[in-house]
């Protein structure tokens, strides 16, 4: 199936709801992610079009990369899904939902969605990217969720500032971190419940919101209905879904998901040599600058390009919240670079779309396309990927070998 046909199929099939009840043999198609053991079925889960199924229980669904060529926003029914614990509520009553706020506060709160509706409404366009996005591309490979590049998405998030919620409760001087918990629960009593924490100054940031809408609609259940935390510029592990409990701590959170999991090496570029031990670690934090070509896949053959001609490239770039300053493309694997033209700015946390042209040679020829973004904070993408044992933070320059005929 060609990429265009596949996209057409996905768009059509996306209208069919409830197909996830079917067993896998009914899956309409498969995709091959670009690494060993990367074959995956496309399966439509509830409220979702067919997505790349990593694991059904707990659900982990990857966005087919062609979706990122469709527009700056990732549609709700195509947005990636990642849960840690299999005990997920399948019925959630938004009208009965409450967010409990307690701990180092002057007043404990129990907020309904109506309470949130009465507070100042804000919106932010922001990329939500899994810490382990692209883990399957690590060399040497690491165990974990073996994602391609599609464990990310960009959406408009609407809700209220977390700071307004915290101020309503009133933080005590002893407040150090703010811990977030959702309705999902461990399958066994001994399994650590999934909770994440932010330092108070991060939690009180202008752009951190408690969101009840995504792209102008209710959140899909699998993306955290009825309300989730949005931490623009930070990895998705902090964007707690089905947010139900906010606990203000007087200490650095030492629960498993902060103290042991989701840690990165505290080393230059947060990289270590494979097999290294004994280095200090810190909690994962902000996104690293990345960019992708969205209109060609690696290995593509591009037909009927007249000579002399330009190969038209387009794609996306994003970073951890300084915004994209520059995108460059290369037709020779990074030896020479050509500036791309940036499209409209939807905000410093958003995908930034870009367009560029690469000159072609006469006759059939192979090109190694590459794209490199530079953020306003000066950070850019390395040509050689870093490595860490958890498979986080991948942001190397992506290359795409294509044949133009």
């Amino acid at each position: 199936m060609s990429e265009v046909d596949r996209r057409r199929f996905l768009l059509t099939a996306g209208a069919v709801l409830g197909a996830a009840a079917l067993p896998l043999r009914a899956a309409a198609d498969t995709v091959q992610l670009p690494f060993a053991n990367g074959e995956r079925p496309l399966v439509a889960f509830p409220q979702k079009r067919p997505l790349i199924l990593l694991t059904p229980r707990p659900p982990q669904l990857e966005t087919p990369f062609a979706v990122f060529d469709d527009g700056v926003y990732t549609p709700n029914d195509a947005f990636f899904v990642r849960w840690h614990l299999s005990n997920i509520p399948q019925t959630v009553d938004a009208s009965a939902h409450r967010i409990a706020v307690s701990g180092e506060v002057n007043r404990t709160l129990s907020l309904s969605l109506d309470d949130l509706a009465a507070m100042p409404q804000v919106e932010v366009t922001a990329v939500n990217q899994c810490s382990g996005n692209s883990r399957g591309l690590f060399t040497p490979r690491v165990a974990g969720g073996e994602w391609g590049n599609g464990a990310m998405g960009n959406a408009v998030w609407t809700g209220v500032r977390l700071r307004d919620v915290l101020d309503r409760a009133g933080l005590k001087a002893s407040a150090k971190q703010v811990q977030f918990d959702g309705l999902d629960a461990p399958p066994l009593p001994a399994t650590p419940d999934f909770k994440k924490s932010l330092d108070v100054d991060v939690a009180r940031g202008d752009d951190v919101i408690v969101a009840y809408a995504m792209n102008g609609a209710a959140l899909p259940v699998l993306n955290g209905y009825p309300v989730r935390l949005i931490v623009p510029g930070w990895f998705a592990t902090y964007w707690v879904k089905m947010l139900s409990t906010i606990t203000v701590l007087d200490h650095a959170d030492d629960n498993f998901w902060m103290k042991t999991a989701y840690r990165i090496p505290d080393t230059p570029d947060n990289s270590v040599a494979p097999g290294a031990t004994g280095y200090p670690t810190i909690p994962i934090n902000r996104l690293r600058v990345r960019s992708f070509i969205t209109n060609f896949v690696d290995g593509a053959t591009i037909l009927h390009v007249a000579f002399p001609s330009q190969l038209q490239l387009r794609g996306i770039a994003f970073d951890g919240g300084s915004g994209i300053k520059r995108v460059e493309v290369s037709g020779d694997g990074g030896t020479t670079w050509i500036d791309a033209v940036l499209e409209r700015d939807y905000g410093k946390y958003s995908f930034r779309r870009w367009n560029a042209s690469v000159p072609t040679r006469q006759g059939t020829s192979t090109y190694t396309l590459a794209v490199r973004a530079t953020a306003n904070d000066g950070s850019t993408q390395p040509m050689t990927p870093g490595w860490n044992p958890s498979g986080y933070l991948r942001n190397a320059v992506e290359t795409y070998k294509v044949t133009v005929a």
């Binding site: 019925t91 509706a117 410093k348």
Partner: protein
């Protein structure tokens, strides 16, 4: 306040800067129900040791958590099983661990 990234909706409506922000988005009301597909028909490969693997691993997650891994060595599979027991609290009997590790290495790994 961040100029571009975060806009109070009342201001945005006045400026007409965003179609999405032109009307206030109300929080959802009512119940949303989904029906998840369980293991979606996925299963472990048959073979010696599959019994304790099914009995222990499937308590918390589908077989795809294992079948999608890169080729892991016996030592790596052993580390995964020990992590499931010691970190995630899986009640795996110690005398079942060798059979589980052997099964995983044979079917989803390399010696």
């Amino acid at each position: 306040m961040t100029k571009h990234a975060l806009i109070v909706l009342t201001c945005t409506a006045l400026l007409g800067a965003s179609a999405l922000a032109a009307t206030k988005v109300a929080p959802p009301k009512g119940t949303a129900t989904i029906s998840l597909p369980g293991d979606a028909g996925m299963a472990f490969k048959p073979g010696p040791g599959v019994g304790p693997v099914q009995a222990n691993c499937l308590t918390c997650h589908s077989s795809a958590y294992i079948s999608t891994q890169p080729v892991l060595t016996k030592a790596q599979w052993n580390a995964e099983v020990v992590k499931m027991k010691n970190v995630y609290g899986a009640p795996i009997a110690d005398d079942q661990i060798p059979a589980i590790v052997d099964y995983l290495t044979t079917n989803y790994g390399k010696p």
